[in-house]
């Protein structure tokens, strides 16, 4: 399941929907909002996406993860809009027969999200804001 949402992400419910009796491992990764960056206090983050392309890229990353790692299934949900510190910005859940493939596929997914999925974050400070282009 691949989704963009403006609502809070509940990683536990994504995990519960994904796991099946044949799985021996499930890895749940959550990217969360930090309250600081580059020495400045961050009040919140605002995520913007090119939504049709971002969803397509999430699906492609999921398909590649299934091809290249011995996993059964993967779900990725990315949050958009305004997030406060500790809010989940992205959740990746990978179910597999064994743990190594689940860890590896999860790492593959987050690394590729950060490189290829057209989503941008703006850091909002007490005295201004700036788009982050990594």
């Amino acid at each position: 399941m691949f989704r963009l949402t403006f609502d809070p992400i509940d990683a536990g419910s994504i995990r519960d929907a994904l796991v099946q009796a044949q799985d021996g491992a499930v890895v749940v990764f959550e990217g969360i909002t930090r309250d600081h960056a580059r020495g400045r206090k961050v009040l919140c983050l605002e995520y913007q996406a090119y939504e049709t392309m971002a969803l397509k890229k999430l699906q492609e990353i999921g398909a590649r993860a299934r091809q290249e790692y011995q996993i059964r299934e993967i779900s990725i949900v990315h949050r958009l809009g305004r997030l406060c510190p500790t809010d989940c910005s992205v959740a990746i859940v990978v179910a597999a027969e064994h743990r190594a493939a689940a860890f590896d596929a999860c790492r593959f997914a987050i690394d590729n999200i950060k490189k290829f999925v057209p989503i941008w974050k703006k850091e909002v400070y007490e005295d201004g804001e700036t788009w982050i282009d990594s």
């Binding site: 990217g31 995520y47 913007q48 996406a49 090119y50 049709t52 392309m53 971002a54 397509k56 990315h78 910005s89 992205v90 987050i110 999200i113 950060k114 490189k115 290829f116 999925v117 057209p118 989503i119 941008w120 974050k121 703006k122 788009w131 982050i132 282009d133 990594s134």
Partner: protein, 81 residues
């Protein structure tokens, strides 16, 4: 021919809009469309080397052809996750 242009993040801040419809000559490519936009928004010139492009939701190089009805997006390097 008529194309739809989308702007995101810093590029949208520079143009002051998220989308536009543009008439461009047949045979245009990504680079020529960017040049056309930079005439109206000169700050795009300095950003050129870092701005990425997608045509119909797929990453495209500057020499990629653009056809009537295409959706062309310009945006900075991504920073999601």
């Amino acid at each position: 021919m008529s194309i739809r242009i989308l702007f995101f993040a810093t590029v949208a801040d520079v143009t002051g809009m998220r989308q536009a419809e543009l008439d461009v000559p047949a045979g245009s490519d990504v680079a020529s469309i960017y040049d056309r936009l930079a005439r109206d928004f000169p700050r795009l010139i300095a950003m050129r080397s870092s701005v990425l492009c997608a045509v119909n939701s797929e990453f495209a190089r500057s020499d990629a052809p653009v056809r009537d009805g295409d959706e062309v997006a310009f945006f900075p390097p991504v920073s999601g996750g």
